[in-house]
């Protein structure tokens, strides 16, 4: 049983950390500390309750996504992207499909694009729900978290109707969606649009203008625009610092140019700004969902690309040609061109990029994920330097570091 060698758990030794005065204490935050949500370790040097320096250890759930991706046919990689940023897996899935479609040169019909937008924006809402309500939990207000979690449950019901799973959705296919939006799903989305705002407003009332919460978050873990750019911030965290960079606006994909929405920005990139930006993004996402569901175009939900998109099942049972295509696609023997693609989508945490190198084989030759939280989490020691332990924890949870995305 216990034949595998367990290596001792690594804590940076005293000598590796910078020379410090004797009075400082070392506090090991994580990997099982309740506030680290996902799993990473922060070794904090503290002077009383003040943080002098920090050092992170990550990789506690490193799963070798990029290595697996080199052994899996294109359509199976959705199961990996699902598990990357698991709070908003549809965005990852769609981003991956769009990358492959870009490589293959498939034009996806308008209806499929709108359905994708719907799913991505719902995913963004769930992602921000989790981040903001967890920030509430970390300040001690647990109840608001459970109120908005009920709404997240409704979004999951919608996913379930669309694809059959809640969290790891495996949604969409190369060339479109795997099935059309059902009338139940449409009904549920419409219900959600109606029932979500009151609950979100309740969360806002519980936290936004509550002085305890404001005192806890204002000027906690701020980051300047220059440092944020240097650290590779994207998404809500960069917008909180005041730079309105949003991939959906700058490089519209999947018909985002059709929708009218605003890009919320904050003032100095502190925890309150990040919270408020995410809060407003939920409203904007809701606006996009509303527009998309009301203007959902008629038409097919998949591209006319028989060699890449699985043929309808009835055809497979009857038609030899369809059966051959079916076999080819499932075996992964599609004729992908060689080439390299970089495609970025606005993920829950920022620019989620896919750098795909194909050599024409059944699997990517190399697939690299540009994972926003991996890149911006390295700014954490700088952000929490000089603040207290409580502030450091709020900074961490407002950055919304998702361990699956961090470690890949």
């Amino acid at each position: 049983m216990a034949d595998i060698e367990l290596l001792p758990h690594n804590v940076p030794s005293q000598s590796e950390l910078p020379e410090l005065v004797e009075e400082l204490t070392t506090l090991n935050l994580g990997p099982t500390h309740p506030a680290t949500h996902g799993i990473f370790q922060n070794v904090l040097k503290m002077d009383g309750e003040k943080i002098v320096s920090g050092e992170q250890t990550i990789g506690y759930i490193h799963r070798a996504f990029e290595k697996i991706a080199e052994r899996r046919p294109f359509y199976q990689i959705t199961t990996l992207t699902d598990r990357m940023n698991y709070c908003s897996s549809p965005i990852n899935n769609m981003g991956w499909h769009m990358t492959v479609e870009k490589l293959l040169g498939i034009e996806v019909p308008k209806r499929a694009q709108y359905i994708r937008v719907l799913m991505m924006e719902l995913a963004r809402i769930t992602d921000h729900i989790i981040c903001n309500s967890i920030l509430g939990v970390d300040t001690g207000a647990f109840t608001g978290f459970l109120y908005v979690m009920q709404k997240r449950e409704e979004v999951y019901e919608i996913y379930e109707e669309v694809c059959g799973a809640r969290l790891t959705t495996n949604m969409g296919r190369v060339g479109g969606m795997e099935r059309d939006l059902s009338s139940t799903a449409i009904r549920k989305i419409k219900e959600f649009i109606k029932s979500f705002p009151p609950v979100l407003r309740e969360l806002e009332k519980l936290l936004n203008r509550n002085r305890i919460f404001m005192d806890r978050t204002i000027n906690v873990g701020p980051i300047s625009q220059e440092r944020a750019l240097s650290y590779g911030f994207t998404g809500p965290n960069l917008r909180a610092a005041g730079i309105d960079y949003d991939v959906r606006v700058m490089n519209p994909y999947s018909s985002y140019e059709d929708f009218d929405f605003e890009v919320p920005i904050g003032q100095n990139g502190d925890t309150f700004d990040r919270y408020m930006v995410r809060n407003e993004e939920m409203w904007q996402s809701l606006k996009i969902v509303e527009q998309a569901i009301n203007n959902l175009p008629e038409g097919p939900y998949y591209a006319d690309a028989p060699e890449f998109y699985l043929p309808p099942k009835q055809e497979v049972y009857k038609n030899m040609e369809a059966l051959i295509y079916h076999f080819k696609i499932v075996m992964g023997e599609i004729d992908a061109p060689a080439g390299e693609v970089y495609h970025a989508v606005e993920g829950g945490n920022g620019e989620l990029g896919f750098y795909l190198i194909s050599d024409g084989g059944r699997a990517p030759y190399r697939l690299h994920f540009r994972r926003p939280s991996f890149i911006y989490y390295q700014a954490y020691p700088e952000m929490c330097k000089g603040s207290s332990l409580s502030d450091a924890i709020l900074t961490m949870s407002s950055m919304n570091v998702i361990a699956g995305e961090l470690d890949a």
Binding site: L6, H33, G59, H62, R63, Y147, M149, E153, R166, T168
Partner: protein, 180 residues
Amino acid sequence: MKEVKIVGAPDGHSGAGFFATSLDQAIGLARSYSLWPLPFATSCCGIEFMATMGAHYDISRFGSERPSFSPRQADLLMVMGTIAKKMAPVVKQVYLQMAEPRWVMAVGACASSGGIFDTYSVLQGIDRIIPVDVYVPGCPPRPEQIIDGLMQIQYLAQNESLRRRNTDEYQELLTSYNIQ
């Protein structure tokens, strides 16, 4: 709304004015309705655990809503999510810090067997380092399945002798994991 199943009184000898039951059963029952979990949530399954704690599924109905992040206070180690080899010593450490009686639940494919992550960096199931009582399949399991797993642990707790932890079999099990 259907009638909620309430725990029945343990089998015992009831007579005029007295009701006796064996201590084992009474304490087993008490333990099973007071399983404080230590949510060792590393990835996706942790998010589903949040849903299990949430209003719709409400794990508190079983008396387990108090998450004990300190292993000393926990009765049930819920390992949710991928355990990489870098993490494995930590899991074992947490398990060792827990006080008896302790139960372990491997939630989801990754914790139970490695799931799709058959890679150099992922531990192929936590049962290689610590003994597991209940495996919950699914990736991630639905909250219903997590509750099923919890109910299975309750069943184990109820049907376990008070001093099972001193038995030879249990000691042997621990020895096979190099735990003393």
